[in-house]
């Protein structure tokens, strides 16, 4: 359910997603205000291509098939800003002419498919490209396509849960889970198409700049920090830590033990803890990047 029809989302979610999408589109069009005149026909052709190719069903085996979302494919070909504009145009035409996705839910669908799908997908691609190196470009594209599709599923689940249509956990299981399968097919199809395009017209993919050594270090640092965070979260025990256990053994009350600062005492519940964790992870990555960059300069 990548295209949310009207009727599923509540007023605050409609307003919030519309405002976010409008901001993203305004920012994008400001970047592309002086659109080179030859880009307009290209954007039109790509909008028509995404629309037409979404009508193709790719057989996946076991009687199943999937169609392409196209965000990462377009963003890799023409860059994130034009990619967002193309996907927004596709979503707009689908909603207005073919009632595929609601008119009131246009903001949410733009956010999911254009901003997260194309813009977020391009960021994931650049991250994976910098991490894996220039020789594994197609693998980076595949990873980006997979995670972009999963991100779209998570975004749809969050919007449905925030609207009170369904609770978050079952929505994530149903929509997010199905988007894991969508992500696998998206990765397969995107890589397959790009491999053939590279063979037929390699010059179309020659415009993407290769990752610099600094970008590689940054990607390695953020990946290491994210993996440390994930492993730490997985291994974190719900049982009391050493200080709390010692306090309990000495007969100190719970109030005394809770006076000790801990990660769990971050105010605001799990969301703020998650935010603090993400900021800390990226802070660590930034420090690693800065230190390694300074060493490079010294050498």
């Amino acid at each position: 359910m990548a295209h949310i029809p009207d009727g599923f989302l509540s007023a605050p979610v409609l307003v919030g997603t519309a405002a976010t999408s409008a901001g993203a589109i305004v920012a994008t069009t400001r970047r592309r205000a002086r659109l080179p005149e030859q880009r307009a026909p290209l954007l039109g052709a790509l909008t028509a291509f995404v629309f037409a190719v979404q009508m193709l069903n790719f057989p996946l085996g076991a009687g199943t098939s999937a169609h392409l979302l196209g965000g990462v494919l377009v963003a890799v070909m023409v860059g994130p800003w034009d990619g967002i504009l193309v996907l927004f145009s596709v979503v707009l035409v689908q909603a207005l002419l073919f009632q595929d996705g609601g008119i009131a839910a246009l903001g949410a669908n733009t956010l999911n498919l254009a901003v997260v799908g194309a813009g977020g997908g391009w960021l994931l691609y650049r991250w994976a490209f910098a991490l894996l190196g220039a020789d594994r470009r197609l693998l980076a594209v595949g990873l980006a396509a997979f995670f972009a599709a999963v991100s779209i599923g998570v975004a749809v689940s969050a919007e449905l849960a925030l609207s009170g249509t369904v609770p978050f956990a079952p929505a994530l299981l149903a929509v997010g889970g199905s988007h894991v399968l969508v992500g696998l097919s998206e990765a397969l199809i995107t890589v397959g198409i790009l491999r053939m395009v590279r063979r037929a017209r390699p010059e179309l993919l020659a415009g993407t700049p290769l990752p610099s050594p600094a970008a590689h270090r940054w990607a390695v640092g953020t990946t290491a920090a994210a993996m440390l965070l994930a492993a730490g979260t997985y291994l974190a025990s719900a049982r009391p830590d050493a200080l709390e256990a010692a306090a309990a053994r000495l007969g100190l009350s719970g109030a005394d033990a809770s006076a000790l600062p801990s990660v769990a005492s971050v105010p605001g519940g799990p969301w703020s803890r998650a935010l603090v964790g993400i900021v800390a992870a990226f802070g660590c990555a930034w420090l690693v990047f800065r230190v390694s960059a300074r060493r490079d300069r010294a050498l």
Binding site: P5, G7, V53, M55
Partner: protein, 253 residues
């Protein structure tokens, strides 16, 4: 294939087609927003908005059978998507379907989703049936949609069905050569078709650009027939807006 099967009632003289495209587009957005803002279980208000849409469909002289047929496709997808709400929403179980429980809350939310979606879809069907794509594009331009987007939309209108026909030709050619056996073979064949369509899109955009330059293109696409927002259209739009406002407000009072 062409867009003309969509706007079949655009040339039929009617009170709806006499309104400015901008007013018709804004009226559709007002109905869609109004129905989306209705709370769960506001059945009377959902019915009122649907009646409003049916009145406009009748005024546009769209036959009931054609309106129902056009509504059926997107409504089917809404029904399909909202089926999950029946079993995912927590509440008292009403029926057991295998391992799943249809709950009372789920049933109310399912009916509310369908009830809110139907007027919005109906309004979009009336809009598309009575408005040509260039008029829609002009309305979007007047509503200050960014020019790169309207340019992309305008050119995609020109190319969409051309590309769809081209994909169909590529599929027919591949089938005639017996390309692709089994799921993996068919997948490879479809990827080849998509890749060919993508490279041809780039080539076509270059040709279109050269043709546009030859016709004096300097970065802006001209409009051949601009219909101004006249007083009648403003009054009709205000009327629709007022009705939607009253209906939505009554659901919260």
């Amino acid at each position: 294939m062409s867009f003309h099967h969509l706007d079949r009632w655009a040339d039929v003289p009617s009170p709806v087609t006499r309104l400015a495209p901008t007013a018709r587009l804004l009226g559709t957005v007002a109905v869609a927003l109004g129905s989306a803002l209705l709370p769960v279980g506001a059945w009377v208000q959902m019915a009122a908005l649907l009646l409003l849409v049916l009145a406009f469909a009748a005024a546009a002289r769209i036959p009931v059978s054609a309106f129902a047929a056009r509504l059926a496709g997107p409504l089917f997808f809404v029904l399909l998507a909202s089926c999950a709400v029946l079993v995912l929403a927590p509440g008292q179980p009403l029926w057991v379907v295998g391992p799943l429980h249809v709950t009372d809350t789920g049933l109310v939310r399912f009916a509310s989703v369908v009830g809110r979606a139907t007027p919005a879809l109906g309004a979009a069907v009336v809009l598309v049936s009575t408005l040509r794509f260039p008029e829609l594009l002009e309305a979007l331009r007047k509503l200050r949609l960014p020019s790169p987007v309207t340019a992309a939309l305008g050119l995609s209108y020109r190319l969409l069905y051309t590309l769809a026909d081209e994909i169909e030709r590529l599929r027919r050619a591949a089938r005639s050569r017996n390309a692709g056996h089994g799921a993996a073979g068919r997948r490879h064949r479809t990827m080849g078709i998509a890749a060919a369509a993508l490279t041809r899109s780039f080539a076509r955009s270059e040709r279109v650009h050269r043709a546009m330059l030859a016709r004096g293109y300097s970065g802006a696409l001209p409009t051949l027939r601009a219909q101004p927002l006249d007083a009648r259209s403003v009054v009709a739009l205000c009327g629709v807006g007022a009705v939607v406002l009253v209906v939505v407000s009554s659901a919260y009072l």
